[in-house]
């Protein structure tokens, strides 16, 4: 080795740039760099020429102009007098809210289906196989469109839920009924779902132009606080168990700490659930033209959420199944040899190991789901692509700026999700020497 790597004595020749492995990689990199720089220069030059020909410039000032279009679903206040920038933020929030709920539902569904597919029950395993294969092999776009079209075109009109005077007399039912014990009404406009309300709210504080709901913050703080205290209790119990061998009884403390503060807070705030319904007079006859109270979830949102959850759930089910199957049989046999029952074997031996295998594909499924929210375009859901990359782009004609900004935002979201999940992954992964 030492002989071979010794440099020849007779100076430097130009051909060594190609033939000598020490210089060749340098040569190649210089050539590639030149080519890349030339390519970039070519693109920039073209862009400058094209912009000049169309009499345009690159200017993000349009973000502070009046948007002039309405967005149906908004998490922070927005009117058509707001700016394009604010419309983009509304769109971003709409993207994030679908992605957030989609990830939760898809995970629940995926774990459920993945575990059931491994079930010893022949029928259940087959049913889950059918679910997974049907959703994995058909385009997501089809599911989004089908769910949207079917829910919005077959659902009854709000007036079909009305009870008329005639019906009260004859005791007949209205043509359409609410589902889930009379709490949820699906109309051709959307899903009327119950709304959680408080009688004595803590009020709203404006941070800049974004309103912050103090009531919600208080409830979240109460829940997070009780979880933290509960963890402290469990830690203490474990410490005592390790020192003395006896584990103190903690279940009633945990229950109390976990639920009492939140329930007390909600009681103090006067929490109740408002079910969407038609206002009625004293005889029970419905008045008005539409449901009062509750929250109206538009079909565009619900269809996107349902389709995304079902579709991604199928992929997560495969990841879960793969993760459980990846744990060698010896692990199960060793656990049985130790005298563990099947349930505890799953919980203590298989799942903790399978989790490590499952997490990397799970990350990429979450990323896919987040990026797939952009298919909301098929059902006119105004997410980031619908506002910034859709209406704003068409109104202002600033394709370059809008597309660049949109790509940048999607890229940032993806990088944030993957780095968060990577942190989680490195926390649970096998600690090797």
């Amino acid at each position: 080795m030492a002989m071979a790597s010794e440099a020849p004595k007779d100076g430097f020749r130009l051909s060594m740039l190609i033939y000598d492995t020490r210089f060749r990689s340098f040569t190649i990199q210089v050539i590639v760099l030149l080519l890349v720089l030339m390519g970039i220069a070519w693109l920039v030059d073209n862009t400058v020429q094209n912009l000049a020909a169309k009499d345009k410039d690159i200017n993000f000032g349009f973000l502070w102009n009046r948007a002039g279009y309405d967005i149906e679903q908004q998490l922070i206040p927005y009117t058509n007098d707001s700016t394009h920038g604010r419309a983009a933020i509304i769109g971003l929030l709409n993207t994030l809210v679908v992605a957030f709920w989609g990830c939760i539902f898809a995970t629940v569904l995926g774990v459920f289906a993945g575990v059931l597919r491994l079930s010893k029950n022949w029928l259940v395993a087959r049913l889950m196989t059918v679910y997974v294969e049907a959703f994995r092999n058909v385009p997501l776009l089809l599911w989004i469109i089908v769910v949207f079209v079917v829910t919005s075109e077959t659902a009854p009109q709000p007036k079909d839920f009305k009870v008329t005077a005639e019906m009260v007399q004859t005791g007949a039912e209205p043509p359409a009924q609410k589902i889930l014990f009379g709490t949820v009404a699906i109309t051709n406009r959307g899903w009327n779902i119950p709304a959680p309300l408080v009688e004595r709210p803590l009020g709203v504080v404006n941070v800049g132009s974004v309103p912050v709901n103090l009531t919600l913050l208080a409830v979240i703080a109460a829940i997070v606080g009780s979880v933290l205290v509960n963890r402290a209790i469990l830690r203490r119990a474990r410490r005592i168990q390790e020192e003395t061998g006896d584990r103190p009884t903690t279940w009633w403390q945990s229950l109390l700490v976990l639920f009492a503060p939140t329930i007390l807070l909600l009681l103090a705030l006067g929490f109740h659930i408002e079910v969407p319904a038609f206002p009625t007079d004293e005889t029970g006859v419905s008045k008005g033209f539409n449901f009062q109270g509750g929250i109206l979830v538009m079909h565009s949102f619900s269809a996107l959420l349902i389709a995304l959850s079902l579709y991604t759930g199928a992929f997560i089910a495969e990841a879960v199944r793969g993760g459980v199957l990846a744990i060698s049989r010896g692990q199960t046999e060793a656990a049985y040899a130790l005298g563990l029952r099947p349930g505890r074997t799953m919980k203590l031996i298989i799942l903790p190991q399978a989790l490590r295998v499952i997490i990397p594909p799970l990350i990429s499924q979450y990323l896919n789901l987040t990026k797939n929210t952009s298919l909301g375009i098929a059902v006119s859901y105004l997410d980031l692509r619908g506002t910034l990359g859709g209406i704003t782009l068409n109104q202002t004609g600033r394709e370059l700026e809008c597309m660049l900004l949109m790509m940048l935002i999607y890229l940032t979201i993806s990088l944030i999700i993957s780095s968060l999940m990577n942190v989680f992954n490195s926390a649970v992964k096998l600690k090797e020497r």
Binding site: I28, L141, L400, M403
Partner: protein, 477 residues
């Protein structure tokens, strides 16, 4: 011993035959007990599942069986099906040609059909290299192509031509299966000519560019090595395509054979999905391999570029890439260049898939033990020889499931091209059908039709990848 035998009052002289297991431990009963009714939870699960199956069947089966095949409008369908309702498959019967071909001219359907049949001939050596199964595939495809041509095309000349060509290819596949690779290499140009029409000399002149590349490589490689040979060949070919090809094509413009040109906006349905899907799949694999190698390269600049490209593409949704193809490419290219939208979309979809393929292959490369690289070095192989002979065959084999699922994803994603104005089968064609006054208000049937076709194709691909995994398995576990 024998004495004792004689004295004993009774002893059996031969073994009893084995008794049947108890009724609960054999046959159907055993299977039912083990698989459906083992314990309380299992029984409950079975009952719930049975209920779900029953509910789905009683919901869908009558509707399915009561389907109407002959009608001219949704209203007529509903009248025929009666009050209990039924599927209106008549819409598929009336519009299937749009779902398959889009607005491709009806009298030229033979061209996409022949191109589709030839695709499988071109695929045969890739799927079953040097095997008789390839010839069998070619035979089946030949028969199917000729039959569907005979059913669809009224010009007997086309049928005979296709039959002769297919018979010739079958003979080639039977006698010399490995020679079929040349058909694969020629196929892209042939398919382009068949689908888009125009003068045959345009694809031939483009093909000549590759000829120039190979010629220059052959001249340079023995003197200056692989890298220089490839680079010079590539540059020469690029120069040829940029400056020479135009005049060659122009000179041969009026020379037959020539087909009636078909515009890109007439493409649609599954024809479009296949054009985009197949082109992007076959181009993204080599690019993906190069990107994966670039990402593992020792050269800092190459590595940075590859990582940047891969992470950028994987971070943005495909829709934004498609909008880039339709909105932004006009800014990045020289003024007054305006090339085909399908081509633009194919390029962007290819780049998109290549980034995902690169990540899959990187996983395969990382899974190889270091010893393989060291053994290749010890044998004195250079970088490209080591990659070609030692590393890639193993890495690609490991990555087959990932590669195929990327391909399936890519094929499913071809439906997204409807957002940039192309006529994909799922949204583009169905929108047209649903906008027709006769079929207004129909929703289940067209989506079920498109969904079933996608399912068959994607499921077929995933089954093929399982077969390939099994075939290439070399370990003895």
């Amino acid at each position: 011993m024998s004495d004792t035998h004689a004295e004993t009052a009774f002893i059996r002289t031969e073994m009893l035959g084995p008794q049947l297991p108890p009724v609960t431990e054999r046959g159907v009963v055993k299977w039912l007990r083990e698989n459906l009714f083992a314990g309380w939870t299992n029984t409950a699960l079975t009952l719930v599942a049975l209920f779900v199956v029953f509910w789905l069947v009683q919901l869908a089966l009558p509707w399915w069986l009561n389907g109407v095949w002959n009608a001219t409008s949704l209203g007529e369908c509903r009248t025929i099906a009666g009050p209990e309702g039924g599927a209106c498959w008549a819409v598929i019967k009336a519009r299937w040609h749009q779902y398959i071909f889009g607005f491709y001219p009806q009298d030229m359907y033979w061209r996409p059909i022949v191109a589709f049949g030839l695709m499988f001939v071109a695929l045969a050596p890739v799927l079953y290299y040097g095997l008789r199964s390839g010839a069998r595939l070619v035979g089946v495809v030949a028969v199917l192509t000729v039959v569907s041509l005979a059913a669809l095309d009224h010009d007997i000349g086309h049928v005979v031509l296709a039959a002769v060509v297919m018979a010739g290819l079958f003979a080639l596949a039977w006698v010399a299966p490995k020679r079929l690779v040349y058909v694969t290499l020629l196929y892209p140009f042939l398919a382009f000519w068949l689908l888009w029409g125009g003068s045959i000399w345009k694809p031939v002149a483009t093909l000549a560019g590759f000829g120039v590349m190979v010629l220059v490589y052959r001249l340079i490689q023995p003197r200056l090595g692989v890298v220089m040979g490839t680079a010079t060949g590539f540059i020469t070919a690029c120069l040829y395509w940029l400056f020479v090809q135009g005049s060659v094509t122009a000179a041969l413009a009026g020379v037959p054979p020539e087909l009636v040109p078909v515009n890109s906006d007439q493409f649609g349905g599954f024809l479009l999905a296949f054009v985009i899907g197949v082109t992007a799949i076959s181009c993204s694999l080599p690019i993906g391999i190069l990107l994966a190698l670039g990402r593992r390269s020792d050269m800092l600049l190459i590595k940075t570029l590859s990582v940047g490209f891969i992470e950028f593409i994987r971070g943005v949704p495909l829709i934004t890439m498609l909008f880039t193809a339709s909105l932004l490419l006009q800014y990045f290219l020289p003024p007054r260049t305006n090339f085909d939208l399908i081509l633009r979309v194919v390029i962007l979809v290819t780049l998109f898939a290549a980034a995902y393929i690169a990540e899959v292959i990187r996983g395969g490369l990382a899974a190889l033990p270091r010893g393989q690289y060291e053994a290749a070095d010890a044998l004195g192989l250079d970088y490209w020889q080591a990659q070609r002979l030692i590393i890639m065959p193993q890495a690609l084999k490991i990555s087959i499931p990932g590669i195929v699922s990327t391909f399936i994803g890519l094929f499913k994603d071809t439906t997204l091209v409807s957002f940039v104005g192309l006529l994909d089968p799922l949204r583009g064609v169905t929108q047209i059908v649903r906008a027709d006054i006769n079929w207004k208000g129909i929703y289940w049937e067209p989506y079920i039709f498109v969904g079933v076709i996608f399912f068959l194709i994607c499921f077929g691909m995933s089954r093929y990848s399982m077969y390939l995994e099994q075939k290439l398995k070399t370990d003895h576990r």
